[in-house]
């Protein structure tokens, strides 16, 4: 290959390398701006992704749903599914049912099968199975120094069994979801952690001054 061809190829490659991340940004911005907002109740654990710093791992309370035998007999773990969403009386999102193909109704989100098996609960007549849904919005990234505090805070808010539970704000458009924020008692977790850290810092300063 001569130099003349190589450089244009390089330029095309460079443009693709810029285009792919840019496209990711545009898609997500679109969902954030025009998507429908849902609130999902959650619960946390802690892993540490070597490539993406610290994040809180969110587990969703409404990830269990029961589907009739015939519809999912051949489903496998990790398979793509479409979860039809509805809202409960308190305004939180709930999985109504699960489809293998895109539903006509627009209130759905793309997810994966995390686990399926026999129902532990005896349902009336027909034999039922449980599908555990693996939602695609289960990682919320925090600044390294704040992630641990955020997680502690989150665990505490769960233990207290408060009336205003913690939830995740999710924007959804055409099945694509973007995690916007994690809220505890209606306040963003980032703000709560920041306020806590500030108050700890200021009390330390007071101690120092004394």
């Amino acid at each position: 290959m001569t130099q003349k061809i190589i450089f244009p190829i390089f330029i095309v490659l460079a443009l693709i390398q810029i285009y792919v991340p840019a496209k990711m940004i545009l898609n997500n911005e679109d969902v954030l701006k025009t998507g429908k907002e849902y609130k999902f109740r959650t619960a946390p654990i802690d892993p540490n992704d070597p490539f993406r710093g610290k994040y809180i791992s969110l587990r969703y309370e409404e990830s269990l749903t029961r589907v009739k035998t015939d519809t999912f007999r051949k489903w496998e773990r990790g398979q793509d599914i479409y979860v039809l969403l509805e809202q409960d009386s308190l305004g939180f999102a709930k999985a109504k049912t699960v489809y293998e193909k895109k539903p006509l109704n627009n209130n759905y989100v793309k997810a994966k099968v995390a686990y399926y098996g026999n129902s532990f609960f005896k349902m009336s007549e027909s034999k039922s199975y449980v599908v555990n849904i693996d939602y695609p919005f289960d990682e919320f990234y925090m600044e390294e120094s704040k992630a641990l505090d955020a997680e502690k805070l989150y665990n505490m808010s769960r233990r207290r069994q408060t009336a205003k539970p913690a939830y995740a704000l999710i924007k959804i458009k055409n099945g694509d979801a973007v995690l916007k924020d994690v809220m505890i008692e209606g306040i963003s977790i980032k703000d709560i952690v920041k306020a806590n850290q500030d108050s700890i810092d200021s009390s330390k300063n007071i101690q120092k001054q004394n």
């Binding site: 130099q3 190589i6 450089f7 190829i9 390089f10 330029i11 490659l13 460079a14 693709i16 390398q17 810029i18 792919v20 991340p21 990711m24 940004i25 997500n28 954030l32 992704d49 490539f51 993406r52 710093g53 610290k54 994040y55 496998e76 773990r77 990790g78 398979q79 939602y135 695609p136 919005f137 289960d138 990682e139 919320f140 990234y141 925090m142 600044e143 390294e144 704040k146 973007v178 995690l179 980032k190 920041k194």
Partner: protein, 429 residues
């Protein structure tokens, strides 16, 4: 300076002419520049990799005080800097390896940094495998455009990580297709180019090590319901490596650069030693293969393909080389398949495996003695020692007998080395 001294002395003594002295000096001068050049490449690449990794770590901190827009812009900064450097070295520093290799290595990491920062900003649930997949695919063309061996090596390491991530976790492997084999195919043309243009270069040697290792690691991801068959695939693959290592091109190189031969030999003996225990064969006899499924299973197809390739190589080798010079390990994979089939019904298989390891040990010792090579001799002795140690643990032999076995092997070690050293001394005298 010493060279100057030496040459004048040699001219005075009338051993070389002035002309030869000039030639010698010229030769060492060019050699010196090529070695400083290599040093440049090494430090350039190391620097680029460190800076690239550093940027990824700084990004991983996930700065909350910076607004989303600035973070988004920042994601592209290292990427564009990397591209500018790469473009510059492509246009202006065409002949500089140092420039090409280090700018490509930096660009490789900045692509990863950009994707991961954006995943972070938008909390994108990307499992590690899909992140690696996008990253590697975006960087693959760099290898060819920049002719960068470092990027190729990083890419091979990356696809191996990807295949381990996706292939060895039962959760993902059932539905997510493992693209490793396609990704691997895409880098092979570069390997061929290296082989054609720079067969003796360091890049080629690194590729010779990394590619077969990557293949060995990823082959196991194919295992599913008939995983026992993978032993055939592995033994055949290692046999093939060994045959490749014995081709003219590789056997002319230093042993430590002959990765195929080392991997083939160590791997084959390692697997055979593993199978010299009874556990595998006990399971194999109990296992009921469903034959219709067996022949259409991935494990069967892959094992067959690899075995046929290895047989082809073996046939080729036996045609061209005197039978006496074909090393015993070259034939093991054929024997192993026969033993495997036998082992499905009979318990003789495990004894045969032990016998094979023993024979390999003896033949290696003989080869070492014949070539007057201490390394090969002791390798053979080591094989037999490990075999004895393995049997030490799982046989019902009395302690006295086992003790005697050790004494015999130990004395064997001592005498074999002693005799060879004595022979050498004799030869020098």
């Amino acid at each position: 300076m010493t060279l100057q001294k030496e040459t004048t002395e040699l001219i005075k003594a009338g051993i070389i002419s002035e002309e030869t002295a000039e030639k010698i000096k010229g030769y060492y001068k060019t050699k010196e520049t090529s070695s400083t050049n290599r040093l440049f490449v090494v430090f350039g690449v190391l620097g680029a990799i460190l800076v690239g990794l550093g940027i990824i770590l700084i990004i991983a901190h996930n700065w909350d005080n910076i607004s989303k827009t600035i973070k988004t812009v920042l994601a592209f900064v290292p990427l564009i800097i990397g591209q500018v450097f790469a473009g510059y070295s492509l246009l202006k520093r065409k002949d500089s390896h140092a420039w090409k290799e280090s700018s490509s290595a930096f660009l490789f990491f900045s692509v990863g940094a950009a994707i991961s920062l954006i995943s972070q900003i938008y909390n994108i649930h990307g499992n590690l495998s899909s992140f690696l997949f996008t990253w590697l695919l975006l960087c693959l063309p760099l290898v060819y455009v920049m002719r960068s061996s470092i990027t190729s090596l990083l890419y091979i390491a990356g696809i191996t990580y990807y295949s381990v991530e996706i292939g060895y976790s039962s959760y993902l492997s059932s539905v997510n297709y493992n693209f490793y084999w396609i990704l691997l195919l895409l880098i092979l043309p570069y390997y061929y180019l290296l082989f054609k243009n720079k067969p003796k270069s360091n890049s080629m040697i690194f590729h010779n090590w990394l590619l077969p290792l990557s293949f060995l690691i990823s082959l196991g991801t194919i295992a599913d319901k008939n995983e026992e068959l993978m032993f055939i695939a592995y033994v055949s693959l290692l046999g093939m490596f060994y045959l490749v290592g014995n081709t003219k091109f590789f056997s002319e190189q230093k042993l430590r650069n002959n990765s195929y031969k080392i991997l083939g030999s160590l791997g084959t003996i390692g697997i055979l030693l593993n199978l010299s225990f009874n556990w595998f064969w006990q399971d194999l006899r109990v296992k009921e293969f469903v034959f219709e499924q067996l022949f259409s299973s991935n494990e069967f197809i892959v094992s067959s393909i690899i075995t046929v390739l290895a047989l082809g190589l073996l046939f080729f080798r036996m045609k061209n080389v005197n039978l006496k010079n074909v090393k015993p390990i070259s034939h093991i994979f054929v024997l192993f398949i026969l033993i495997f089939i036998l082992g499905m019904t009979s318990s003789v298989a495990v004894i045969l495996i032990n016998l094979i390891v023993f024979v390999i040990g003896i033949l290696t010792i003989r080869e070492g003695a014949g070539q007057n090579h201490l390394g090969i001799l002791n390798y053979g002795l080591l094989i037999i020692t490990i075999l004895v140690v393995c049997r030490f643990f799982d046989t019902e032999l009395s302690f006295v007998l086992r003790g005697l076995l050790f004494v015999i092997v130990g004395t064997g070690f001592f005498f074999a080395n002693y005799l060879m050293l004595k022979k050498r001394k004799h030869a020098t005298n």
